[in-house]
Symmetry: C2
Subunit: 304 residues, 2 copies
DNA sequence: CTGTTCCATAACCCCAGGTTAACATCAAGG
DNA sequence: CCTTGATGTTAACCTGGGGTTATGGAACAG
């Protein structure tokens, strides 16, 4: 390959940021000398860059009349846009500097919907108080999609209701959460302190599908009573059960993390025997760990 | 002054267009090698520019994990804006090239209101047909403001109803226009072929102030009949007379250029003795003459 | 006529950004 | 286990853009 391919030079429009800046300054200040002053460089420097730009563009930007520069039609056509673009570049430089001064940050969190509806809001509130300038991107998605984005690197960490199994993903269990039975407050079972598989005989069940991590343990709990867990409505995420239970379609066996009593007309009772689900936080070890991972971990621990 | 002032280097954020382009390409393509390919330069070139950018910014944009580049939080924060700004620069380069290929142009015209209401629309229509890619800026302003802008260079040419007297302004008379008497079509004088100073005795006059170029000639015309031109309502621009005449406030003595019969209920009759006003086109000889001056002159001549 | 003001030119310097070539890693596979 | 290929880094080198100072020429005001 050539050292510096010119391609005839007419086709290649260069238009540096510097050339833009100098053109803009000359237009604004009205003369090369004034522009040089306001840019704090020597007058010949400005003059040379201008000539260079003109030769690259292939047309004059200024006529030299009476020893003065007079902008041509082409200059007028360019100026408006050039000015705007230059200002945009300035804004970008500012952003770059601000980032460098650690005055701004970014934490991209992926979370499954139940987490988003329970511990996350409080944890984020706490986190934002400690780090007000850190932007937070929150992606509420199913576990599968979250795992994918974590591997790609679109998110920095995930908080889910089951550990993520993937090559480079490192998970840490933050807390155990007991499975609860969620029902309408008018339900006869609402009077009981706990709900057993026996109590649920003949009642339509709303719960996770067989692919979920807790399903085997729930099945075993029913099995110990000589019963079979017969799920009539399968949900992918526990919050999806709310309208179903409210509508009287059945009783839900779901995580106890979400504040179910916060939904109008619903109550939750512990399921017995106790079946535990895990709140886990995961990062991708193949990616740089966020500066804000530890601080965020601290915040979320306080609420578990 | 120093050769190349660094100022400690931390304060000066450089951020070339080129650095921007390379950063964007690496983010988009996912690796230095791929970016180098898509930019058609060697891979070490990209690597070096990236390192240079990082050292200037003062923070890493990528972590090197497993021999691969992994964007850091800072890179993610920058990318969105960097991408947008880069695209803006591309648009600007395109504009610069388009201008260079003479596919686009600009003609800035200043005209007094009567001109704008008469010959200009047709002339511009013709001009735009011949030069569809040339943008036209039309400033309809009083003579004084127009002259000022012509001298500053904010407009390329002016078309006015009197010649402009200023140091570097070159005017050319395009046509003579007879002064007309404009009245309501119900006016008794509407039956006459011409209107003389005699006819106007006792009628309130609407006309130009004493500072206008034609005023002395109109005064002289009245004087020849032993009369005095007594202007009851003074206007700066002839089109301003329309609502006044319509409202029955008097008869207007104004230029015959505007199609007065085009206004509802108005008619115009030649004023006798004939008093002429001049349609003049002017340019500033201290400024580069527009490429489109001659073509435009051709267009406007066809309608005079 | 003469000083001032503005722009252009010349001669020089430095560094960003390009090249090639050689070298270090890591993933993958026989 | 060692080779192979892909990726990123480093080194040595060259060019050109953009900076400097010094100087010259053109236009205008006094």
């Amino acid at each position: 390959m050539e050292q510096c391919p010119h391609f005839g030079q007419l086709l290649v429009v260069v238009m540096n940021a510097r050339q833009l800046e100098i053109f803009r300054a000359i237009m604004r200040d009205g003369s090369v000398t004034a522009a040089a002053n306001s840019l704090a460089v020597s007058q010949p420097a400005v003059s040379k860059v201008l000539h260079h730009l003109e030769s690259q563009l292939g047309y004059k930007l200024f006529e030299r009349i009476g020893g003065r520069l007079v902008p041509t039609m082409e200059a007028h056509l360019l100026y408006e846009d050039a000015d705007r673009v230059f200002r945009e570049i300035e804004v970008l430089k500012n952003l770059a500097r601000t980032i460098g001064e650690r005055k701004i940050g970014l934490l991209r969190i992926g979370a499954s919907p139940p987490i988003t509806y329970s511990v996350l809001p409080q944890a984020l509130l706490k986190f934002r108080q400690a780090h007000p300038t850190v932007k937070v991107h929150l992606h509420a998605l199913p576990k599968k999609e979250i795992t994918e984005q974590l591997l790609i690197g679109d998110i920095d960490l995930t908080v889910t209701l089951s550990t993520i199994q993937a090559p480079t993903v490192r998970s840490e269990v933050l807390a155990g959460v007991r499975v609860m039975a969620v029902m309408r407050d008018t339900d006869p079972l609402a009077d009981k302190a706990e709900v057993t598989p026996h109590d649920l005989v003949g009642r339509p069940l709303i719960s996770y599908g067989n692919r979920a991590d807790v399903s085997p343990m729930l099945d075993e709990a029913f099995d110990r009573f000589g019963l079979v867990r017969d799920v009539s409505i399968e949900i992918s995420s526990s919050v999806g059960a709310v309208p179903l239970v409210s509508g009287g379609l059945g009783i839900a066996l779901v995580d106890g993390l979400v504040r179910w009593s916060g939904f109008q007309g619903l109550v939750a009772r512990p399921f017995s025997p106790a079946v535990m689900m895990n709140v886990a936080i995961s990062t991708n070890s193949a990616r740089p760990v966020s500066r804000f991972f530890r601080p965020f971990l601290q915040c979320i621990r306080e609420f578990l």
